[in-house]
């Protein structure tokens, strides 16, 4: 039987605020245990939560970025469950009326575009952390993380492969950083994905029973976990078994998923509106204010690059794949570089070097100003493209600006026609056989002669001039 996998994602993004969602405690990462846990965060009796305005701004920004409905009135609810790192015995979340409603995100999967529907996004608080093995028979509880603001972003079950799920997660990861609501740090848990996976016979429109893979904090693990889980579910069904709804964990060491707990009992969260919090009202003016300070979104920027700079959709998409790359490219162009040439270099040489060293563009040793300086020398014919790559390598190695490297290494292109003619005369004299071949009609021989001339000039002769002089001398 042919099977189809159906995937939906729930992503917890930690919002980039200074203080917690309902208290004035700091959310800085890595503090000593429980030193950033106030009376509200540890749930001492008589405390009241007060909502952080910045967390609401972040939610509005996200809503605008995915073209979603932003609820004029949304409600906080208590999600009740018992766990030691949840001191109140409930998590403050949103249930029936979330702050962000239906939206969508379009992602690139291979050479296909796919639109993933976003069901909702809601504000909630994070729980604390349990530290195991603190003391024999005991668990340690650190409540610094309790009350950290999260925006949970939920999709429809629209993805049909691990590749699609990872493409969506990566796109979302870039987007939340782009609009400045999340630092995207996956190691520190600022961006965590829960993936719902089910399988069904291809062509069926009924959803299979799903299992939820919890807390994936790397895209590679996400890919592996979905692939393993999909195989496991298909094999189970083909062997005549049934799938039980469950929460599973992915073990990176074995590459396997394993059921954590049966969901039936734990799932009874008994949501109800939190009487400690009034409904959240968001007016059209509030939304307009946020809109005014929103950065240009990647999709809009991509279209603008295509329109203003005549870039291909592929280039424009690559240049807007992250805020860092977009800012870098924009800075190179602002320094006077020709946009198409700048695009080729940022997507080509710069990206290749960064890839090689597995680094982010923020770590590039060549600044936009320096790159623009190099491109200027290509544009004004001081150096050829080929020599420019050599200069670029030297710049990357920290040998200075383009001009000083060109000067120091004597790489300046030879454009003096007398010098070029002299080189070509030598080449023609030394390669009589090739000349004969060319005269016999072999165009290939011409290219070989150009190559010889370029070689004789150590790559410094202007290629266009070499072509021209050579044709003239051969009487072609």
């Amino acid at each position: 039987m042919q099977w189809e996998v159906v995937i939906g994602l729930e992503t917890h993004t930690q919002l980039q605020t200074r203080s917690k969602i309902f208290s004035g405690s700091s959310i800085a990462f890595g503090a000593e245990p429980n030193t950033q846990a106030s009376a509200v965060d540890i749930a001492l009796p008589g405390v009241l939560p007060v909502l952080n305005a910045e967390a609401v701004q972040c939610a509005i920004k996200f809503g605008l970025a995915v073209n979603a409905e932003i609820a004029p009135r949304s409600v906080f609810a208590r999600k009740n469950y018992f766990y030691p790192d949840l001191p109140k015995g409930y998590q403050i979340s949103q249930y029936e009326l979330p702050v962000v409603g239906k939206g969508s995100l379009t992602v690139q999967v291979g050479d296909q575009e796919k639109t993933i529907r976003i069901t909702r996004a809601h504000l909630e608080e994070d729980a604390g952390k349990s530290v195991h093995g603190a003391s024999a028979g005991m668990s340690g509880i650190d409540l610094n993380r309790a009350g950290t603001p999260l925006l949970e972003i939920v999709t429809e079950p629209d993805m049909r492969s691990a590749a699609e799920a990872v493409a969506y997660a990566k796109k979302l990861h870039e987007l939340v950083q782009w609009i400045g609501i999340c630092d995207g740090n996956m190691q520190e848990g600022s961006f965590r994905c829960d993936v719902n996976v089910s399988v069904r016979p291809k062509g069926s429109d009924k959803l299979g029973t799903r299992r939820e893979i919890k807390n994936l904090n790397s895209f590679r693990f996400m890919q592996q976990a979905i692939e393993y889980e999909t195989r496991w579910q298909i094999e189970t069904l083909e062997d005549g078994g049934t799938i039980q709804q469950a929460t599973v964990l992915f073990n990176p060491d074995t590459g396997e998923t394993r059921a954590m707990r049966s969901k039936e009992e734990a799932n009874d969260y008994r949501y109800f509106p939190d009487p400690d919090l009034l409904p959240l009202q968001i007016t059209l003016e509030d939304i307009a204010k946020v809109k005014a300070v929103m950065p240009e979104l990647p999709g809009d920027m991509k279209e603008r690059f295509e329109r203003e700079y005549s870039l291909s959709a592929y280039d424009a998409s690559g240049l807007t794949s992250s805020r860092g790359i977009a800012d870098y490219f924009t800075a190179v162009v602002a320094q006077g570089a020709e946009p198409k040439m700048a695009a080729n270099w940022v997507m080509g040489s710069v990206a290749a070097k960064l890839n090689e060293q597995d680094q982010d563009i923020s770590a590039s040793p060549v600044s936009p100003l320096q790159l623009a300086g190099l491109l200027k020398r290509i544009a004004d014919n001081t150096i050829s493209n080929k020599i420019a790559r050599e200069v670029f390598d030297a710049m990357w190695a920290g040998e200075g600006d383009a001009d000083s490297i060109i000067e120091k290494k004597g790489l300046k292109q030879v454009t003096d026609s007398g010098a070029i003619e002299a080189i070509i005369d030598e080449v023609l004299a030394a390669n009589a056989a090739m000349v004969e071949e060319f005269r016999a009609g072999k165009e290939k021989a011409f290219n070989a002669l150009v190559g010889q001339a370029m070689k004789a000039s150590k790559g410094k002769a202007n290629p266009a001039q070499v072509n021209e002089v050579l044709r003239r001398k051969l009487g072609a």
């Binding site: 203080s19 030193t35 609401v56 509106p273 009487p275």
Partner: protein
């Protein structure tokens, strides 16, 4: 809607409240009374009425995003039953 004694036990378990069989029976009576009242209210036609999430018709006040709390760990942990290296200790959590 009728409730059974085992429903009461389950609700108590979810809230981590220990109830004896007698208590469960007594609680069952009381809860059934409340449910009976709700059933009576269900008879009221509420078409077109927006569900209420708070008794007052006011909206949430927002707090500026400023860190106002300082570290009071020592004071809080002075009343905790068990602490170690700044952590609150609880019976081992088994996953």
């Amino acid at each position: 809607m009728s409730l059974s004694s085992s429903d009461v036990k389950r609700i108590a378990h979810l809230a981590r409240i220990e109830v004896s069989d007698e208590e469960a029976e007594a609680t069952l009576q009381k809860l059934s009374g409340i449910l009976g009242l709700i059933e009576q209210m269900q008879a009221v036609d509420t078409t077109g009425i927006v569900p209420m999430s708070h008794s007052q018709d006011v909206v949430q006040r927002l707090r500026p995003d400023v860190v106002t709390e300082n570290d009071q760990r020592a004071a809080f942990q002075a009343i905790a039953p068990a602490v170690e290296n700044g952590l609150y200790l609880v019976p081992k959590v088994i996953e």
